[in-house]
């Protein structure tokens, strides 16, 4: 009753509340919980990893930043009810656009900056259901048939961003890009895999996104659709590291992945036998044409990590002309090398002594070593 004189101020306060809460959410989503021990201390002391995390924080903030829009003021006028004070927000007032081409979708986003693009909605709807997000308008991407399949282009596959995990998990896709298919099959329960998309996995940029280490190992390139038919290419690692970001009105259209015609492996360690978030994951692909091994470790940092030196070292040990033979010790050494590169020892103290890593981190390192060793072993077997 008292609020009748000051509806506008109240609305502004709501906006503050919403903005404060949504930024809380971003913080909480970006917490790298799996890297902290029970006291909440950050376990990754390496400055380079910290820097990476900072970059990734910028990147994901920029990505999700545009999705956080408070209610417009126009809703104040829609309040009505028995005492004239109801705050029911009629759902019909929310605009939903269902474009059928990528350019229409970009145009719809440009025309309505408050709109949120939605593909599978597996992350977005969780935010809506928990009250963290009330999009003023939605642009549904589900009817854009051009991004729901794939095509071939100069020895590459051009994957539509709307490919679902379920589709990527099927055998015909697995014959093309086995590691991405394995990641898609591991990406959660069937309900999530049926809805969640490749583009959504990239845009959410969750540290535990299962497709991300595979795309990093494949050195995939994103083709981003912008206003007026503009297309630009961004390496997936640049986007995940925050070196380049999505601009207003832009959408991830396609992902270009090289077709390597060689074994690829994706391995994931989780806390349970059923579907769960990765505690660590390793994607490893062989590139016989360039005689290279490319490996990315996911879920232990805000973005996938590439142990470049370990890749080069092990590639030099493989007998590429002789059935890709390698001595068993090299597999073991590769695992240790990858793990040490991704989870380095703590920086030495002033007196030169190296502090012991906490047991949970040592275990994570051991897990990464086992995953990398097994991945290489399976790829070369």
């Amino acid at each position: 009753m008292q609020g009748k004189e000051t509806p506008l101020n109240v609305t502004e306060e709501w906006q503050l509340v919403r903005i404060a809460r949504s930024s809380d959410r971003r913080r909480s989503r970006l917490k790298t919980d799996h890297l902290t021990d029970e006291t909440g201390e950050c376990l990754l002391a390496d400055p380079c990893v910290r820097a990476l995390r900072r970059c990734a924080r910028v990147a994901t903030s920029a990505l999700s930043g545009r999705t956080v829009r408070p209610h417009g003021r126009d809703q104040v006028g829609q309040r009505e009810g028995a005492v004239g004070l109801t705050t029911h927000a009629p759902q019909a007032a929310q605009a939903v656009t269902l474009p059928t081409t990528l350019d229409e979708a970009v145009a719809a986003l440009t025309a309505m900056p408050a709109a949120v693009p939605v593909a599978g909605g597996t992350d977005l709807m969780a935010a809506v259901n928990s009250g963290q997000l009330r999009p003023a308008a939605l642009v549904g991407l589900g009817r854009i048939s051009e991004i729901r399949g794939w095509q071939y282009q100069d020895g590459h596959a051009l994957l539509g961003a709307g490919l679902t995990h379920a589709r990527m998990g099927r055998p015909d896709f697995a014959a093309l890009i086995p590691a991405l298919a394995a990641a898609a099959r591991a990406a959660g329960p069937p309900q999530i895999r049926n809805a969640g998309t490749l583009g959504g996995n990239i845009a959410s940029a969750a540290p535990t996104g299962d497709a991300l280490p595979v795309l990093a190992a494949l050195e995939a390139t994103l083709i981003i659709a912008g206003p007026d038919g503009a297309r630009r290419e961004v390496p997936v690692s640049h986007l995940l590291a925050g070196m380049e970001m999505l601009r207003a009105g832009e959408l991830i259209g396609y992902v270009r992945v090289p077709l390597l015609h060689a074994p690829q492996v994706f391995l994931k360690a989780t806390g349970r036998t059923g579907p769960g978030r990765a505690t660590a994951s390793v994607a490893l692909v062989l590139d016989p044409a360039r005689r290279g091994v490319r490996c990315a470790v996911g879920a232990i940092a805000p973005m996938p990590l590439r142990p470049l030196e370990a890749e080069q070292w092990v590639a030099s040990l493989i007998d590429w002309d002789n059935g890709r033979a390698v001595v068993p010790e090299a597999l073991h050494g590769f695992g240790e090398y990858v793990a040490a590169a991704c989870i380095p020892d703590a920086a030495p103290d002033e007196d030169g002594s190296v502090p012991q890593l906490p047991p949970a981190v040592l275990h994570l390192r051991r897990t990464v070593a086992a995953l990398a060793r097994r991945a290489l072993g399976r790829a070369l077997s």
Binding site: V17, D33, T39, T86, S130, G274, H363, A370, L371
Partner: protein, 773 residues
């Protein structure tokens, strides 16, 4: 060829026979399906979250973000001024007693007034015309805190400043039994930690409060203890109990005191204040913050045994983290101390148990409370004794098992059936599951899941045992009484009993009892509200015992009323008449009539009570006949462990249980499977982490419940049906015992697979890695 023809003929006859409907099972011992099963599977069953009323308002509760803080001020001005907000209430708006609490310890404020003692403690509640508005208004209540250091380590609670006027020590039981100087030839010691399990009820809490014209209020809740909650609510609202009515809506499933009074009580206050119906549907996050959890426990054990592996003495210290408020911690501690030695004969026992207050989220009743934590510890100790003596773990256990007539460390003689040796032998002798080496590699389910990283060469298999015991009904002098009414009219029987169906199958059981006693096939069980006489809380297998007993007595009284005129007419006693399939026949089959005819349009009613024999509280030395009955369970676990990554998959759990009598085989199997799966959760994944008193990951992504792939093959090897003479039908409760024994069995199996000590539950991956230790 001839075989094929025979099969085809058999199929043909089966097809021809299909029009004949299968007889619907009825009566005790049959697998009667629950009456509401269809509605529940089709999604038409109304739960509290589905309720609606004209002019409905939505409530939201403001919860403390700090585990320990002094409240400097609470300013509700902004929240009140928001459009759509109809009421904002704080501790100043509680008309009745400001404190409440389960287990007879009223130490918990409805709304915190001066101090918040745990993360998620309610501070204020809002009623508004939209759930979002209510949540935003709750967020707009400005609370100024002076943040205090939380006491989160239960070991520090003893010396810490009192967190509550009642002090930090909630209960201390120093159990002394036998000769303190007794010593064995070998001594094994261990320190064990059990994590915080959340009951994670399917369907988060929800409720609707409707004001009544007489100034009272009706609460529609999924309460498991309607009369207890009614009395608490009435005291809080300053109303006589008759003016508060709790109507129990469908309970989506409960393994604990599932409802959170932190929102139940404000709902009624808001309804009384606004004069409108008020509803709240908790999010999963609120659910994790609101309800009580299993007691995290620290246990220190020392077992003395002789060279043959017989236990000579057990010394133990048990520390239960009760969280910020007492709740039912006293009961949990009594169970933990009394069962600290397990189902073994231990002549000398010295057990110190404490339940202490901390700034962690409150702990309360989750099935198997107290008994589950000690089981994990004493079974680990038995493994250590076996290892030290080089004996088979099952053999060491068999040399010590309890039997009927043995004495517990509390001085209570076990008078009920205690077929512990039989149970253990059954699971030990059951064939082990085959190794997957003969099946195609793609069909293997390795630790880590179907798309996981499991590598056959790194997987080790382990076998372990766990034997658990649990008490039934409330202990230590609790008055466990239930009242039921049975009515028969026009060939239809109705049961009125305030026992809540929480998934334990009580309504089905009540139908079976009445079908058996009265020979009436159509039995209805009336919905529960507090206008009915109390039946008590639904926990610790109570309702099968006391409410089932009350229904049986009432049905028998109706039967006597029904048969008396006939018996008189035929000149024989009622015992010589039988009722079956709706027909009354005399023993010789000469006389026959239907129940409908015998009723002759009359309506027969009877009400009866069931009250088990009394118990006594544990005295200052932990001695006393505190328990009405006990149930036992033996489980053999077979696990696969990836010894490099530390991932564990439970392959099979073989269960043998002491059930007294099987009343409904299908429900019994389901309850055992559910209990075992809950135990697998405790053993491997379920731990609500609360660093510095703050609940982390209050969602079902972060709090990993077992999925269908985590649930092992559950083989019910043996159900020992040795009737408990004091229990109605001789039946024992089945739900809690598998929860108690299965975590210990899984831990024991992981120990066998890895050679690691496994002292902590849930088992962390780094504790299940066999290399590099």
């Amino acid at each position: 060829m001839s075989n094929d023809t025979a099969t085809a003929e058999a199929e043909g006859t089966a097809e021809a026979a299909t029009p004949v409907p299968e007889p619907i099972p009825h009566g005790l011992g049959e697998s009667l399906p629950p009456a509401d099963a269809r509605a529940k599977t089709e999604g038409t069953f109304p739960y509290a979250a589905d309720l609606w009323a004209e002019g409905l308002l939505w409530a939201a509760v403001l919860r403390s973000p700090h585990p320990h803080a002094r409240i400097v001020s609470i300013d509700t001005t902004h929240a009140r001024e928001m459009p759509g907000v109809r009421a904002v209430i704080t501790h100043e708006d509680v008309p009745g007693t400001p404190l409440h609490g389960r287990g007879g310890r009223a130490d918990r404020p409805v709304f915190a007034s001066d101090v918040v003692r745990h993360h998620g403690e309610p501070l204020a509640a809002v009623a508004a015309d939209h759930p979002d508005t209510a949540r935003m208004a709750a967020a707009a209540v400005i609370v100024e805190y002076e943040v205090l250091d939380p006491v989160t380590d239960p070991e520090h609670a003893f010396e810490a400043e009192p967190l509550h006027p009642d002090g930090n020590l909630i209960r201390h039981i120093p159990l002394r039994h036998g000769d303190p100087d007794a010593a064995g030839e070998i001594v094994v010691e261990g320190l064990y930690r059990i994590g915080r399990q959340d009951p994670a009820p399917i369907g988060a809490e929800a409720g609707l409060a409707v004001p009544r014209p007489d100034g009272g209020v009706e609460l529609y809740l999924a309460s498991t203890d309607p009369h207890g909650d009614r009395d608490t609510a009435a005291a809080c609202y300053g109303l006589p109990p008759e003016q508060v009515k709790i109507v129990v809506t469908g309970v989506p499933g409960a393994t604990a005191d599932r409802e959170d009074q932190g929102f139940q009580l404000p709902l009624g206050l808001l309804a009384l204040k606004t004069g409108c119906p008020v509803k709240l549907t908790a999010t999963r996050e609120e659910s994790f913050l609101g309800h009580t959890h299993r007691h995290p426990t620290l246990l220190r054990y020392r077992h003395h045994a002789d060279a043959e592996g017989r236990i000579v003495k057990v010394e133990a210290q048990i520390l239960l983290d009760a969280g910020a408020y007492a709740d039912t911690s006293s009961d949990a501690l009594a169970a933990a101390v009394a069962f600290a030695c397990g189902p073994y004969v231990v002549p000398n026992a010295f057990i110190e148990g404490w339940a202490v207050r901390t700034n962690n989220p409150p702990s309360g009743h989750v099935r198997g409370e107290g008994a589950m934590q000690v089981c994990a510890a004493y079974e680990a100790q038995m493994d250590k004794v076996a290892k030290k003596l080089g004996l088979d773990p099952a053999e060491v256990r068999l040399r010590n098992v309890l039997a009927t007539g043995d004495v517990l460390p509390t001085g209570q003689t076990v008078t009920c059936p205690a077929p512990v040796a039989e149970l253990l032998q059954a699971v030990r002798d059951f064939p082990l599951p085959a190794l997957p080496k003969d099946t195609p590699e793609d069909e293997w389910l390795l630790p880590g899941g179907p798309e996981g990283a499991g590598e056959p060469g790194a997987v080790r298999r382990g076998v372990g045992y766990g034997i658990g015991m649990v008490h039934m009904l409330g202990a230590e002098g609790a008055d466990e009484v239930s009242t039921a009414t049975v009515k028969v009219q026009d060939g239809v029987a109705t049961v009125l009993c305030a026992a809540v169906e929480t998934g334990q199958g009580f309504t089905t059981l009540a139908r079976q009892i009445v079908q058996d006693t009265l020979g009436v096939d159509e039995v209805q069980v009336a919905p529960v509200d507090t206008d009915q006489p109390p039946a008590g809380p639904g926990c610790r297998g109570r309702h099968t015992w006391v409410s089932g007993g009350a229904v049986e007595r009432a049905a028998k009284m109706v039967r006597t009323q029904l048969l008396q005129p006939l018996a008189h007419q035929f000149g024989m006693s009622t015992e010589l008449l039988q009722i079956a399939d709706g027909k009354i026949t005399s023993y010789d089959g000469v006389l026959s009539t239907t129940v409908g005819e015998a009723l002759d349009g009359k309506e027969l009613w009877a009400t009866a009570q069931c009250r088990p024999h009394p118990t006594e509280p544990l005295d200052e030395a932990g001695q006393g006949d505190a328990f009405v009955g006990m149930a036992f369970c033996a489980i053999r676990a077979v696990v696969d462990v990836d010894i490099e990554i530390g991932s564990v998959r439970v392959v099979e759990l073989a269960v043998a249980q002491d059930v007294g009598r099987v009343l409904n085989p299908a429900q019994l199997t389901a309850r055992i499977e559910a209990g075992v799966t809950q135990g697998v959760g405790i053993a491997l994944t379920e731990n609500l982490r609360t660093p510095r008193g703050l609940i982390r990951h209050p969602d079902l992504t972060g709090y990993a419940l077992p999925t269908a792939l985590d649930a092992p093959d559950i083989r019910i090897v043996k159900l020992v049906e040795e009737r408990d003479v004091v229990a109605p039908f001789g039946a024992k409760a089945v739900s809690a015992a598998p929860v108690v024994a299965s975590p210990a069995a899984v831990a024991s199996a992981v120990r066998a697979a890895t050679g690691r000590p496994v002292n902590r539950l849930p088992i962390r991956p780094q504790a299940a890695v066999a290399t590099g230790n």
